[in-house]
């Protein structure tokens, strides 16, 4: 006679930590051996690394050159400028994260950046008296912004303008506005460098975006002349490496504009090259999104009587761009890493500062030099940002995938 057999808990060792250990580390004799061997190698390697990092490594040279790494030779009395730009950036980020705090991806990224800045703010407050108060302000800005965003979610609507203002104003402030004045005098671009320059070049992704969208639309245009030109531009630019375009731009831009090379600072030339290069890749990403928009969407829009431009801007682009956000974040990562190539036009970005530091007399007196330490330090910083972006990209991919299906 049938009676329901009640569910019983799984026998011990089937669930929980032990089961996990057994399944993942000791599932068979061979696996156990593998675990022990790799474990031993891993532990000894980690111990060696730790011992080296704590006792043998010459971190002092990294520590002593923090300013070079951060802003290179940006005038000391003007250090408040990049810090103000940073503080406003964090303020805006804070407002966005606070206003849209149900967006976990944005919030997660925001707190990550905030934590990173807070680390430096704390260090500055303790060790770097000259920039103590500005760093403190930069450290507090995200919290203020977050608070404001939580209190006034309506601020989110003004963000587009705020960002544009920040970008333009930030450049103006960093560069200086009134020649000869004390506060707003010009800071020559040859003194720009370090992490600040890396970030400045990274913003080239912003102008590359509308350019890329235009190129992508042009590539799908029905008009052969426009289509051909767009395809040629995209394929030629993508066909050669960025470092070559940087080199070519630094040679050719002065010729193309028939001006003295000194009138065109290296940063400007690099910025143009990076923007155009990035736009070509952006165009390909956007094109992927455009292709993903079903034909029926366009037909429905046309049937409703929307014009060609309206169909593109109101129906097709919003869907296409949404679909390619992860790819665009991926491109941000690539560009962030690729800014390290500007050494080829003589710029001293975050990566290239290491060469300057390594050739200082103090560094040369250290046995074997300090390059290893320097490279590890900057690798860590690059990794910190690039990895966080890739995490965000994966989260976005997951959410978009789940949302559209």
């Amino acid at each position: 006679m049938f009676r329901v057999i009640p569910a019983r808990p799984a026998p011990s060792g089937e669930t929980g930590v032990l089961a996990w250990l057994r399944r993942n580390l000791f599932s068979s004799a061979a696996n156990t051996l593998l675990t022990l061997a790799t474990g031993a190698v891993l532990v000894s390697a980690l111990a060696g690394l730790l011992r080296w990092a704590l006792f043998d490594a010459a971190w002092a040279q990294v520590w002593a050159n923090m300013r070079l790494l951060a802003v290179f030779r940006y005038p000391t009395d003007l250090l408040w400028r990049p810090l103000v730009v940073l503080a406003v950036l964090l303020l805006l980020l804070g407002i966005m994260a606070g206003a849209a705090r149900r967006n976990e991806i944005l919030r997660g990224a925001f707190w990550w950046v905030t934590g990173f800045v807070a680390l430096f703010a704390l260090t500055a407050v303790v060790f770097w008296p000259s920039v103590r108060w500005f760093w403190l302000a930069a450290g507090l800005a995200p919290f203020i912004g977050y608070g404001a965003g939580v209190a006034r979610p309506g601020l989110l609507r003004a963000m587009r303008w705020a960002w544009a203002l920040w970008l333009v104003g930030g450049f103006a402030l960093l560069h200086g506005i009134v020649p000869g004045s004390v506060l707003l005098r010009i800071a020559p671009t040859r003194d720009w460098g370090g992490f600040m320059l890396t970030m400045v070049l990274f913003t080239a992704i912003v102008p590359s975006f509308p350019l890329g969208v235009a190129l992508a639309l042009g590539r799908r245009s029905r008009l052969p002349a426009i289509k051909t030109v767009c395809i040629a531009f995209i394929e030629v630019v993508r066909g050669a490496p960025l470092i070559m375009w940087l080199f070519v731009a630094s040679l050719l831009l002065p010729l193309l504009l028939d001006t003295d090379p000194n009138n065109l600072p290296a940063i400007l030339r690099a910025y143009v090259a990076i923007t155009l290069f990035s736009a070509a890749y952006m165009a390909e990403n956007v094109r992927g999104g455009l292709q993903a928009v079903p034909r029926g969407q366009i037909e429905a829009a046309q049937a409703l009587g929307l014009s060609g431009w309206q169909t593109t801007s109101l129906i097709v682009l919003p869907q296409a761009l949404r679909a390619v956000i992860p790819a665009i974040v991926g491109q941000c990562i690539a560009l962030f890493k690729d800014t390290s190539l500007v050494f080829v036009v003589g710029l001293i970005d975050f990566y290239r500062v290491t060469e300057v530091i390594a050739t200082q007399p103090a560094s040369l007196s250290i046995t074997g030099g300090v390059k290893l330490e320097l490279y590890l330090f900057i690798s860590l910083v690059y990794f910190f940002f690039a990895y966080r972006m890739s995490v965000a990209s994966r989260q976005l991919e997951k959410r978009l995938g789940g949302g559209t299906r």
Binding site: L25, N31, T38, G239, L256, K337, S340, Y375, A386, S390
Partner: protein, 599 residues
């Protein structure tokens, strides 16, 4: 029918828009063009390609084809392109191997393996390639390996030092010419055989294996040809070696006039197999305090690399034995007889202990102690290089170091060479003149060239500089992280049911992977992986960071020297576009094939 005004006609608008667009574009191009021409003429810079034929004068360390600084620019640029391909092709193969391994490890059942693979991928993908190249170049490969005159000896005759990696390599020998037609025949036969076999398979509608037939043909004919060429009639030609033992240099050449000296018009012969014998000779060196691999190595002496099989008898002593005994100097060998330290036996135990190589008074090592190595019966098989050159250590006549020392000179090193070559100063009759003989040996179609270190560079074998290695390592490791992700994605894309079906048929887990899962994953991962191959090739343009002379580096130097920035830029763009197009072609072929099989 009402006529449509042209500004409302969809067709006209399109044409009009294009006309306007093209006109604006042309105007822009025209302005830029006139700007460039006027700027170029004002600065008096070349705008044509005439400079390609003039002397380049660019020193290039690695030249896959013969090159001197007297060669023209086009040849230098060609070498740059070849060097690009050299690093790219090897890099693509290695990156694939590592990428597949790491990608599979990412899915391993063992948590530790999985974690290590994940860390590998995330770490390497998220650090700029530029940083990775300089890391390998200036932080690992330049400072870490030992210096060239005492390289690490790895199994199989592989040598590693701060100059690079060198390993034995096969070169075309004397009778390569006799083998050559066989090789051509083998390749042709393999082609014909492959096509025939594929035809048969198609005709029979059977999925026959095609590859064993062409491979068997290729190897079979090549092997028979090798045997025939090796045992056939030796080629009669009057080769001779012009060898100067004191400089340690010689040239193998065709001795037309039979005088044993290389005269004008007498062609050097590459890759000849020789044996160099020196009956009695000596080498000198002195100790130094060096920093190496981020540590100090005091009181170190280093002779050129001499192995047991090179000599019948070898002995190392102090040039000034009396002074050494007074100071209490002793020798401790880390690698007899080439490398060791000079120490003073402070603790009196008769053996070397750590710290005894440092002078307690000064706190540093004993530097400048002169040592002499006496060799009897030196004999070494040397294969001449591409230019017919052979090199040995710069031997001195036995006893000359002592003589020079007695002569009161404190310059032992190069001084001796000067003494004996002028044949003037030797005060004692003890100095025996150097006697060297060089035998030429017959070799087969291929000759195995081993690596040796005569003075401070590798000779023989295949040599890879640290510059090449650093760029290669960085490119391979960076790209392998991306390929690993493609592999992982490909494997995950294979339906779970495939695995289960294969297991249910009784296949072992290894067979399931290699016969069922991997072939299917390959289709998913191949297209993105090919674009990674292209990325690797394009990324090789970061070579200036490792001072490796590939296309971009040579082109930048050329542009700087000639000022021909526009032509050089055009050359670069066209070269990279060509490379990209080749990859695009491969990608299309692969995509087509994948589609074909899937249908």
């Amino acid at each position: 029918m009402e006529r449509i005004p042209f500004w409302r006609n969809v067709k006209t608008i399109g044409v009009l828009a294009q006309v306007v667009f093209v006109m604006v574009l042309l105007a822009g191009v025209a302005i830029l063009f006139s700007n460039v021409t006027s700027a170029l003429s004002r600065a008096n810079l070349p705008a044509d390609f005439g400079w390609l034929g003039s002397r380049a004068g660019i020193p290039i360390a690695e030249t896959p084809i013969p090159y001197t600084t007297n060669d023209p620019y086009w040849r230098a640029l060609l070498i740059g392109l070849l060097n690009t391909l050299r690093v790219a092709l090897v890099g693509v193969v290695l990156a694939s191997v590592i990428g597949v391994a790491v990608g599979v490890m990412r899915l391993a059942p063992n948590f530790l393996i999985r974690t290590i693979a994940t860390i590998y991928v995330e770490l390497l993908r998220n650090v700029p390639l530029a940083v990775q190249i300089v890391f390998w170049y200036t932080a690992v490969l330049l400072p870490s390996p030992p210096r060239i005159n005492n390289p690490v000896e790895l199994p199989g005759g592989v040598l590693l030092s701060n100059v690079g990696l060198a390993f034995p390599f096969l070169y075309p020998g004397d009778r390569f010419a006799a083998w050559w037609p066989w090789l051509v025949t083998a390749v042709l036969a393999a082609l014909v055989g492959g096509i025939w076999r594929a035809r048969v398979a198609r005709a029979a509608e059977l999925p026959l294996r095609v590859w064993p037939v062409p491979v068997a043909l290729l190897l079979g004919i090549a092997a028979v040809g090798y045997a025939v060429a090796a045992f056939g009639q030796p080629e009669k030609s009057a080769l001779a070696v012009d060898f100067d033992v004191e400089r340690g240099r010689g040239t193998v050449f065709v001795d037309l006039d039979g005088d044993g000296r290389r005269g004008a018009g007498e062609r050097a012969v590459p890759f000849a197999s020789t044996v160099v014998r020196v009956e009695l000779a000596e080498l000198t060196t002195s100790t130094q305090n060096l920093s190496e691999s981020r540590r100090m190595v005091p009181s170190t002496f280093r002779f050129p690399l001499i192995r047991d099989r090179d000599v019948a008898e070898v002995e190392v002593g102090f040039v000034d034995a009396d002074a050494a005994e007074q100071a209490g100097y002793r020798l401790h060998f880390e690698h007899f007889p080439s490398r060791g330290v000079v120490y003073v036996d402070h603790d009196g135990d008769g053996a070397f202990s750590r710290g005894e190589e440092i002078d307690p008074v000064t706190g540093v090592g004993y530097s400048g102690v002169e040592l002499v190595m006496t060799l009897r019966g030196f004999e070494r098989a040397i294969v001449a290089d591409r230019d017919g050159q052979i090199r040995t250590p710069s031997f001195r006549p036995a006893g000359s170091a002592l003589a020079a020392d007695d002569g009161g000179g404190d310059t032992v090193g190069r001084g001796v060479g000067v003494f004996s070559s002028f044949g003037a100063a030797a005060t004692e009759a003890e100095i025996e003149p150097l006697r060297a003989e060089v035998d030429l040996r017959a070799s087969g179609p291929l000759v195995l060239s081993r690596v040796h270190v005569p003075v401070s560079s590798y000779e023989g074998g295949m040599r890879l500089t640290v510059n090449y290695l650093a760029l290669l390592f960085a490119l391979v490791i960076y790209t392998s992280a991306f390929i690993a992700e493609n592999v992982r994605g490909g494997i995950l894309a294979v339906d779970k049911g495939q695995r289960e079906a294969a297991l249910a048929l009784g296949l072992s887990s290894g067979q399931v992977f290699s016969l069922v899962v991997f072939p299917q994953a390959l289709r998913v991962m191949l297209p993105p992986t090919i674009s990674q191959f292209l990325n690797l090739t394009k990324n090789s343009s970061l070579a200036p960071l490792a001072a490796y002379g590939e296309l971009f580096v040579i082109a930048t130097i050329t542009a700087n020297q000639t000022g021909a920035s526009v032509p050089v830029a055009l050359l670069l763009i066209v070269s990279y576009l060509l490379i990209s197009m080749v990859f695009a072609l491969v990608l299309n072929v692969v995509n087509a094939r994948i589609k074909l099989v899937e249908r």
